[in-house]
Subunit: 517 residues, 2 copies
Amino acid sequence: MNIARLPSYLEGVWRTGSGEGTPVADAVTGETVTRVTSEGLDLAAAVAYARRTGLAGLGELTFPQRAAAIKAAALALQERRQELYELSARAGATQRDAVVDVDGGIGTALVYASLGRKGLPEHTLIVEDDPVALGKGGTFAGRHILTTPHGICLQINAFNFPVWGMLEKLAPALLAGLPTIVKPATPTAYIAAHAVRLIVESGALPPGAVQLVSGSVPGLLDLLGGQDHIGFTGSAATADRLRSDPAVTRRSARFNAEADSLNCSVLGPDAVPGRPEFELFADALVTEMTVKAGQKCTAIRRAFVPAGLIDAVCEAVQARLAKVVVGAPGADGVTMGALVGLAQRAEVRGAAGRLAAAGSIVYGDPRKVEVVGADAERGAFLSPLLVRVDDVARPEPHQVEAFGPVSTLMPYGDVSDLLDLVARGAGSLAGSVVSYDRDFVRQVVLGAAAHHGRILVLDRDSAAESTGHGIPMPQLVHGGPGRAGGGQEEGGLRAVYAHLQRTALQGGPATLDSIIR
Amino acid sequence: MNIARLPSYLEGVWRTGSGEGTPVADAVTGETVTRVTSEGLDLAAAVAYARRTGLAGLGELTFPQRAAAIKAAALALQERRQELYELSARAGATQRDAVVDVDGGIGTALVYASLGRKGLPEHTLIVEDDPVALGKGGTFAGRHILTTPHGICLQINAFNFPVWGMLEKLAPALLAGLPTIVKPATPTAYIAAHAVRLIVESGALPPGAVQLVSGSVPGLLDLLGGQDHIGFTGSAATADRLRSDPAVTRRSARFNAEADSLNCSVLGPDAVPGRPEFELFADALVTEMTVKAGQKCTAIRRAFVPAGLIDAVCEAVQARLAKVVVGAPGADGVTMGALVGLAQRAEVRGAAGRLAAAGSIVYGDPRKVEVVGADAERGAFLSPLLVRVDDVARPEPHQVEAFGPVSTLMPYGDVSDLLDLVARGAGSLAGSVVSYDRDFVRQVVLGAAAHHGRILVLDRDSAAESTGHGIPMPQLVHGGPGRAGGGQEEGGLRAVYAHLQRTALQGGPATLDSIIR
């Protein structure tokens, strides 16, 4: 069968690249879903269209008007989210996984719509502060404004959250007035493309506000410079490559990276078996290992538990993992889906092997998994794998990331040892502390804060409402130092401000007033 | 005569590098002032000392205590600033120039001391916001804290402001708790080194808070990573090189660049001869051309005037330039000093030649200048040069920066043309509009804001108190998009926040309270 090539949405039209394209397989069945190619597409024209038509269209709207457009787009997606769930299943996502991506993305866009409506002025610029007197006579002052750059936003996304990853970047960029070109990851580009189709069909956004390139973007960075913004989610290696581009190093395009990291979760010494926190820790670890089959940049990769509790934790987690049913999304009883593809599985197996060399696999078999409703080899299925590493001085657990249902369980001694271990991750997106001992929590949070973009405290009092270790919230910053990319997304209106140019104005107070009126 | 090598201040001790070193000539006489070498110095030990001793010492101080230490250091410099003026004269700086650097730097440090005392908590962390409810039951919330990274700050400075450039980076870094290694530019390293000596002798700062490397820093970036901060001022080419280093691209060290740019000043059509703004414009242009002999990253490089006024402006500026007396700082009647050295003069002459090829030199001779109190060839003297370019479509005036007493005068038609020309600078640190027509001012400021870190409006009402086009103020952001490096320094407490790690905390409200107590 001749599988259709996935189109791109450029200059207001769906256009299909030429050539064979890269085939994308169904994660469950191995059948080809689509072929992805941008060959022959005129990306320079797309950039010019964004700069001209997109920028002008958004520029005619005030912040609250942009917020209303974003809300309309999000509601259009919500209306037809079932279509996105169905496509997500082909990428291995269970309903629970798809909700994180699809509903999570829509929810994020709606939060931004609300922030834009309530928190930004009926204007196209933001006056950031009151005037600061710069002279004693009151005739000279300074203040800051934030305005829309004369540029565009290019977002380069990871395969794991084709909808959320797009919307959490799109919403603040559009609020800021920046037209966006979306470049999804090839393995799930068909999901992102469908989401863009739903947005386009809604007519919610002005022409040129969103474009989509299915496939690679050769030469696109050559067209970007100091007025443009590049938002990236993915591996540290790709972040390195993009950030080394002259668009960033020479022309100072803004660059934000959100990279996978070796996130930790810490169990407090108070949380012995029988205490609620012990159960919460084990539950959270299994959740993080199995949601999206562990393909989350925020997932717990390193679980630190008091040395005296490691056997008990190990047993508790093993018992929970034994209840995980791997299989085709939607098949009877399935609680964990497939990885995104066979190449990804091979990579995760390799990484798991390196981790196992530092200790031992105490749950699961990287080569074998019982699968419901699908073929274990044709689909990209993998058993959850718990690796126990007692020699915590080994480098592997702190450096090797298995981007799948894989976590390493390690013992720690005192808080100081623990903080050293945490720091060995060299920067993370998210950490968590599961304890009901406030002194312990305080020591760990303050000792680990510099290495984290976000830290969750989990205990019996907050568990019922807690959004969990792995879920970034639009109100809070997402991103972390070092290995996590050094960037920052979301965080409420901070993300909008990060897309705007801050300019200090100086002059007579009345003149400044007349400028910002 | 065997001129002494300039020592470095490392691990709390003044140490002298080995080898011949790079000789640094007196800008006025050509005599060798010192030789600069870091050969054989143990920079890895210096980094380790900063990480250990410096970080711990600053970490024991609250923000206001750090502010008090900065104030004490600044006052120690103020006490002995005459010594810095005298050294500055050897680098070609007149008293007026030295005041900009020395007093400007001290004033900036004092402003930061005041901001730290009044604007930051008696604590070592900052709670940035109120809790945001993340559940309806009120048991789960999020908020942000800012904490000191477990890192250091490396500052790499330009030659033109050895004192100010150091202090404007040092003050926010120290407030943030980050120990700093200063790497001054070789041609004026002896001035920066003396300022460090005065600070050290004051005993104001804890051990390890400041170190100084006189000379190059081979391998130093290899030691920096995601917890570290690199602050750079200098050329776009060096910014490119530093930002391409794996310390930044791979390990996500924070990097802030403030690069020279083709700053513009705009005369309004209302400001015809006879109006105060006409005079203010001509005065400001000549000030910017001659202070520091035009060696200011913020200096006006492109002066845009209404086409109908260009002859009048040309004459007014020529008349003022004719009164400039070039010569040895301190010599009778001298109003403009020397460039920093002969190599710099050669470079400026080359750039001026390229600019002149696009138009014509209407004041000054790049090869000849009358000099008071010194030898015109042995010292790095250069006449102020005004280049008129009527063909504004030529690329040179928008791309070639002559980092000396050189500006290009160009005509514009309507506001739309003007804004196109402004944008051709591809991003600037500072711009100015000189006009008493508020509509014109508003159009230009809003149209040019996205290309500028700072825009000054100058008119008759604010002129008396105006700090002028070229002077960054610590209360306002300094830095600009694109060619200007895409960074941001100063801006009051923003610069302190930029050195801290922001972490989102999530948990029960009472737990969050107990963490930040």
